[in-house]
């Protein structure tokens, strides 16, 4: 407690210094790399496409609520955030905001009255968006029906409930700045980078956050934990990297939520399923191809592989796991984890199974789930939940077995790891 107060005191002292460091903020407004297709002439229509790519609606709409009227709850380690109303309602929304006020929120992370905003609103990515694109988004948001719905206060623990902390946080972690094209790369690559880093805010989930909720670094090899899922890193083919995938396969994953070819089967679930369902499935193929080109070029940081030698200590676990697999899983995933197209993906050679973080496989066996029902994959198959029929140790045994069979070599899973996820919220 004393320590925290001391920290706060230092922060207060830093404030004065910080204020002039932070305002004037970056005022530059560069050009976005040209879209990979011919965008609509109408700025409202352009704005609608951009807002969809940025997935603003998913966060700013409560379940079953009016679009953009806010009230959606985002649980984080710091407490629960409630998104504000961004419909053009004058009292409770952003009806009195000018295009410049809107630009400051997106680009500089502060509200109309100067309040510093929490980076749960991923302006750390949106700052890459060009002024012209931001103006189009503003033009579109002016046209959505205004809804009177007061914004609910966040419920955050001490000391995070003090926005003052954000002053120091920004000093440490936030540099506003629009995307600057890299002239050594192709136009497509630049467009893809602009979309992935800015609008698509992939790194908001796919990079690890530190104890203060900041994305650790641009080149961080470790993915991030979001909403109790693990977002694997895009910089390793052992996790979510798509370095050696073909462009059409990457586009298919982003557009439909799964890739079909048996040689390379991947599905999206949880938060990634949500991004595909609400945003990526509506993105133009040309734009997705540009994004794919950029993703393929990300540095390969070569994340660790498991390296399990079947030691005698595990044989007991593995044989228990084998029995459970034969009883409960083989009917869909095949006797040798080869999968049964189209009803279930292979588990042999599947990185979603062997990834070093066990969070997603544990969650998937506990709670099951479907890929999103997109236009390109409208009737997805689903995985049944096992939280009621299998105990923690049994789920651990079967996961340890599939992680160490048919050519998979990943370390075992413990019952505690399963237990820790049992109470996880479902999204």
């Amino acid at each position: 407690m004393r320590k925290l107060l001391a920290v706060l005191a230092v922060l207060v002292a830093l404030t004065l210094l910080a204020v002039w460091l932070l305002f004037p903020v970056d005022r530059q407004d560069g050009e976005a790399p040209r879209a990979a297709y011919t965008p609509p002439v109408d700025s409202v229509e352009r704005g609608r496409e951009l807002v969809t790519m940025a997935d603003c609606r998913a966060c700013h709409t409560a379940r079953g609520g009016a679009p953009f009227a806010g009230g959606y709850a985002i649980p984080t380690p710091f407490g629960t955030f409630f998104t504000p109303n961004i419909t053009p309602d004058a009292q409770t929304g952003i009806g009195r905001w000018s295009a410049t006020d809107f630009w400051h929120a997106l680009h500089n992370g502060y509200s109309k009255d100067g309040t510093l905003l929490y980076p749960t609103f991923p302006y750390t990515n949106y700052t890459r968006i060009s002024r012209r694109d931001a103006d189009d988004m503003y033009a579109y948001l002016r046209t959505v029906p205004p809804v009177s719905r007061p914004t609910r206060a966040h419920e955050l623990g001490f000391p995070y409930n003090h926005r003052l902390l954000l002053v120091a946080w920004r000093l440490l972690f936030f540099r506003p700045g629009v995307y600057e094209s890299d002239s050594t790369q192709s136009a497509d690559w630049n467009r893809g980078a602009y979309l992935a880093q800015g609008l698509g805010h992939c790194s908001a989930c796919h990079e690890a956050r530190n104890a203060l909720g900041a994305v650790k670094s641009k080149h961080n090899p470790a993915g991030g934990l979001v909403l109790n899922w693990y977002a694997p890193t895009l910089t390793s083919p052992r996790e979510a990297g798509v370095h050696d995938w073909s462009i059409p396969n990457i586009v298919m994953l982003l557009k439909t939520g799964r890739t079909g070819s048996t040689a390379l089967q991947a599905t999206t679930m949880g938060p990634m399923g949500e991004v595909v369902y609400n945003s990526l499935q509506y993105t133009r193929d040309e734009e997705l191809r540009a994004m794919a080109a950029y993703l393929k070029s990300l540095p390969d940081t070569g994340a660790r592989s498991g390296g399990l030698v079947r030691s005698s200590a595990h044989t007991g676990t593995l044989s228990k796991g084998e029995t459970i697999y034969a009883d409960d899983c083989a009917q869909c995933h095949g006797d040798n984890g080869e999968g049964r197209a189209p009803a279930a993906p292979p588990l042999a050679g599947n990185r979603a199974v062997t990834m070093s973080s066990t969070v997603n496989p544990v969650r998937i066996v506990l709670f099951g789930g479907y890929s999103p029902g997109t236009a390109g994959n409208p009737r997805p198959f689903g995985m049944p939940p096992y939280f009621q029929t299998l105990r923690d140790d049994q789920i651990a045994d079967v996961l340890s077995y599939i992680r160490a069979s048919w050519g998979n070599h990943a370390p075992p899973v413990s019952g505690d790891e399963v237990g820790r996820n049992r109470g996880s919220p479902l999204f």
Binding site: P342, G368, Y370, G382, T389
Partner: protein
């Protein structure tokens, strides 16, 4: 939530593995295969059991089942697992799932033995079969079908479901935790009931044997005494 899950776990382990083995597996590229994730909870073909909380979904009108999937997805009903499963699915697919379960004609479990006294049961029977004019409560039967097996396309049957489940649903309406399409006749009706009536009605319903599942009735004898937003006006899809 956690305790509910634990309770459900116990129930499931008891009746465990109802999904596997004893029937031939459905063809791989079929709706039967696609709804496998539903069966650990709702039972083989969606038939459930009298015990436990999971509702029977087999043989309920498809329009009703579809409305519920949408209600979970859109936050009018709350059960995290159901919301999670319906969340990112399009209407056409949810309708197909609803159609699959709606078309199942499978035996009902035997009735539960009465847990309450004769007076309570009699009060329950009166509410279900005759209603209560003084409270302005129409009989349940007038909407849920003369045999209480539901009315196409949007009113569910009330038999073959556990009393726990029925009571929980009526209580959810009372406290505003469950809603149907407006105007929500069930919400209106539950407000008119006395608190103890809920238990009487559900206790009686749970003790009723079901002759054989000939499915929901095709239409109402008389138009419902209250307007229900979930019942489509003639000619319109639910």
């Amino acid at each position: 939530m956690k305790t509910l899950l634990l309770r459900l776990s116990a129930v499931m382990i008891a009746f465990g593995g109802a999904h596997a083995a004893d029937t031939a597996p459905p063809p791989l590229d079929s709706i039967g295969q696609r709804v496998q994730p539903c069966l650990p909870c709702h039972g083989k073909e969606g038939r459930a059991t009298r015990e436990g909380y999971y509702p029977r979904i087999a043989g309920k009108p498809a329009g009703y089942l579809f409305n519920q999937l949408v209600n979970f997805r859109d936050g009018r009903r709350h059960f995290p697992m159901m919301t999670y499963l319906a969340d990112l699915q399009n209407d056409a697919y949810l309708r197909e799932m609803a159609g699959f379960f709606g078309a199942q004609r499978v035996p009902y479990p035997p009735p539960q033995p009465p847990q309450v006294g004769a007076a309570v049961l009699e009060r329950g029977r009166r509410l279900v079969m005759e209603g209560d004019a003084a409270l302005r409560v129409p009989s349940c039967r007038s909407c849920h079908g003369t045999r209480l097996l539901g009315v196409e396309p949007a009113v569910p049957g009330l038999l073959g479901v556990s009393q726990d489940y029925l009571t929980a649903q009526l209580s959810a309406w009372r406290i505003g935790a469950r809603a149907a399409h407006a105007p929500d006749c069930m919400a209106e009706l539950v407000q008119r009931l006395r608190p103890e009536d809920v238990n009487s009605a559900t206790a009686w319903l749970a003790t009723q044997a079901v002759p054989d599942d000939t499915g929901p009735e095709q239409g109402f004898e008389h138009p419902p005494a209250l307007r229900c937003g979930s019942i489509p006006q003639t000619g319109q899809q639910p």
